[in-house]
Symmetry: C2
Subunit: 133 residues, 2 copies
DNA sequence: TCTCTTATCAGTAATCATTATTAATATATA
DNA sequence: TATATATTAATAATGATTACTGATAAGAGA
């Protein structure tokens, strides 16, 4: 602990997160980064992902399957989980921040925000030509 | 596996889930059921919680802290997570199912539903007299 | 009621994702 | 360049959950 120094491994991890919308797990990030850093350790990936999240440079997403996913896009946006192929994807839609107000009405605490996952079938799985991932 | 037979352990687990709104973890359920079944095993708790969920008789809630929580109330309702004390509680509010329509507009798949967690400070933590749990 | 089949159990070992430890290496500053 | 220390690779440890195993008990038929 102290200052945060530069490391090429961390930069590579961040660059990868910024380059994809696949919301990879730590394991997926590990597999990808290993192409450029064959000796990188899974622990290093976890440590840097946690650091990036705590610095607000990445988001941690949990869909309840026991594997955390990470997102380099920190701008507020919503996500969609396909029940068939398991893909987690971005979902562009009109803002729905008003639901915080609805939640606050009649609530005796303080609602600050929300985390939301839409689910159903993605385009490919709806058409029936989806390859499970 | 064939028919599902009756078991008092499973009935006790389900009764407990129906009697509380505390959204207990498997470990919490285990501690509670042990009062009546001192010899029950944690594995039995997990197995029956999973069975109840797969039968649609209970809900599994994941807030991303690594511990699944369970809810005997299967009617659609929303949840609130207190960032201070960690409590997960029910949040009564006007229905917001219209957000599924908003999400579907412009989406090329099929949005069937959503899972949402509001977060902030609960009543007690807002007042500052909350005992962390 | 008595058997018989097998689902469920208690106990425990195994698994999986994640975190902690440690000695070696890399970064930054003087 | 020398020094201090953050970061790394490798690996051990942790904690939640699942799988396995022999014993027990539900419940259907004799």
């Amino acid at each position: 602990m102290g200052v945060t120094r530069y490391s090429r491994q961390r930069e590579a991890i961040r660059d990868y997160l910024l380059s994809t919308t696949s919301h990879p797990t730590a394991e997926s990030v590990y597999k990808e980064i290993r192409k450029d850093f064959p000796k990188i350790s899974l622990g290093t990936v976890y440590r840097n992902l946690n650091l990036l999240v705590s610095q607000g440079k990445a988001l941690r997403l949990s869909i309840g399957d026991g594997n955390d996913r990470f997102d380099g896009n920190i701008h507020p946006h919503n996500h969609f989980f396909c029940k068939n192929c398991g893909r987690l994807m971005d979902l562009e839609m009109d803002p729905i921040d008003h639901i915080n107000l609805i939640a606050n009405a009649g609530f005796d605490g303080e609602v600050q925000g929300h985390s939301i996952y839409f689910y159903g079938f993605c385009k490919d799985c709806k058409k029936g030509d989806c390859k499970k991932i």
